[in-house]
Symmetry: C2
Subunit: 250 residues, 2 copies
């Protein structure tokens, strides 16, 4: 028997689609990027700190998107922002981007398409997929997210890239556009994220919200987003717990 | 071991994504719509010929999209065109659309989201999914296609609705937009269809092409699209045969 749909305490509506922040929530970007930076450094005989490089690369993420969100730049797909940021980090490490063989940096940039899922992600998504539409609601562009899903076997029903919405979270347009694309009211869509600020923006846009703990996204000494910062509609230690909460019979 | 990718004889390129025409190629719209029209007629005590009604409803499909393709109308999602066409067919049958309870026609309109897959579709897609990105390249809009896939368990990797491209096949923009969304060259994308005119337009846009036979799409007396009308890159009797052709080791 199909379990009853989860009713959001804050909106009073049944959830029909469960969409996921991706980097950090579904996949472990830090370990994945560091592993690929490590191989890149070895191939080119470079002395790089893989985790430090991954953290520095990721630190350019929000400032690059902020130029788009603030209107200083038109929409640029995330994979291009990632490549621009890579060039910047190489230079900060005293390396010239022009010193690498043609295509080599594009290949390293694909690290963001080859990230490992957290151990519980696939099984949790599989369970949720039996009851809900599941998909990413990510700042990644569609091609990046589709390739990531193929590489990590993420069983999405639909892939909502930021290029479809021409907007980066936490702009309200990103959350509202995803709901409209599925022909759902915002209140029928739940955002799942390990980041309280993403959930706050989703709630402001009218979506249901669920917090999942990813206490080592930023490494063993992480100090942020260790716990829910508000009374989100649901919270769980991982995607298995989330699936249990969202698929209880009503 | 992952089999080698299919190389298109016409483009000389490896295929990376296999996209599918949907209505008629993946799902059996005629049987599905007729079954739901039959239940609708019974519920409302109407004397309707279910298959005749389905054929008449579908006959409005191309003219409705042609208004968009020709620029006489801006892009309108297919589910709205279907609802407009339903109203027209009811009136042609002497029935007033206003004579039905609120929401009743919208419910019948969802027949297009509840179509049965052809018997080989799911298993063929499952096999192809192991080697390629698979998705619909359909005139359906994203919400319609996502709901169809949930109802029929179609294992798509990505759903490319006509609303994402704001174009209806056979406009070249539809084929080119799908490839661009996946960050692929048109020659790296294959269209699979049971309709020779769709394949001709896809080839003109630079895509690889495969014809699959669906000889009863229009019922037992079908006279069109019974065989490939050109030397498409591949042809098969069904999706199992297609998967065999496209996943042979190189």
């Amino acid at each position: 028997m199909t379990p009853a749909a989860f009713v959001s305490p804050s909106t009073g509506r049944q959830v029909k689609a469960v969409l996921f922040d991706t980097f950090g929530t579904v996949v472990d970007w830090r370990s994945g990027v560091a592993a690929q930076v490590g191989r890149f450094a070895e191939r080119h005989g470079l002395a790089l700190d893989p985790f430090g490089f991954a953290d520095a690369w990721r630190a350019e993420y929000q400032p690059a998107m902020e130029l788009v969100r603030s209107g200083q730049r038109g929409y640029v797909p995330l994979d291009r922002l990632h490549l621009e940021n890579l060039n910047r980090i190489l230079m900060a490490n005293g390396l010239s981007p022009d010193g690498f063989p043609s295509g080599g940096l594009e290949e390293l940039n694909r690290a963001w398409e080859r990230l490992p899922a957290w151990p519980d992600s696939r099984e949790g998504l599989r369970r949720l997929k039996g009851r809900y539409i599941v998909g990413p609601l990510s700042n990644g562009n569609t091609a990046l997210l589709v390739n990531m899903a193929k590489n990590a076997s993420l069983p999405w029903d639909v892939v909502v890239g930021s290029d479809l919405l021409q907007a980066y979270k936490p702009d309200a347009a990103a959350y509202l556009g995803a709901a409209a694309l599925l022909r759902l009211d915002p209140a029928e869509v739940m955002l799942v994220a390990a980041h309280n600020n993403d959930l706050a923006a989703a709630r402001d846009a009218g979506l249901a919200t669920a917090f999942v703990q990813r206490p080592t996204e930023h490494g063993p000494a992480q100090t942020t987003d260790l716990a829910p910062a508000s009374n989100w509609d649901a919270e769980a230690a991982d995607f298995i717990g989330l699936a249990q909460t969202l698929t209880l019979s009503g």
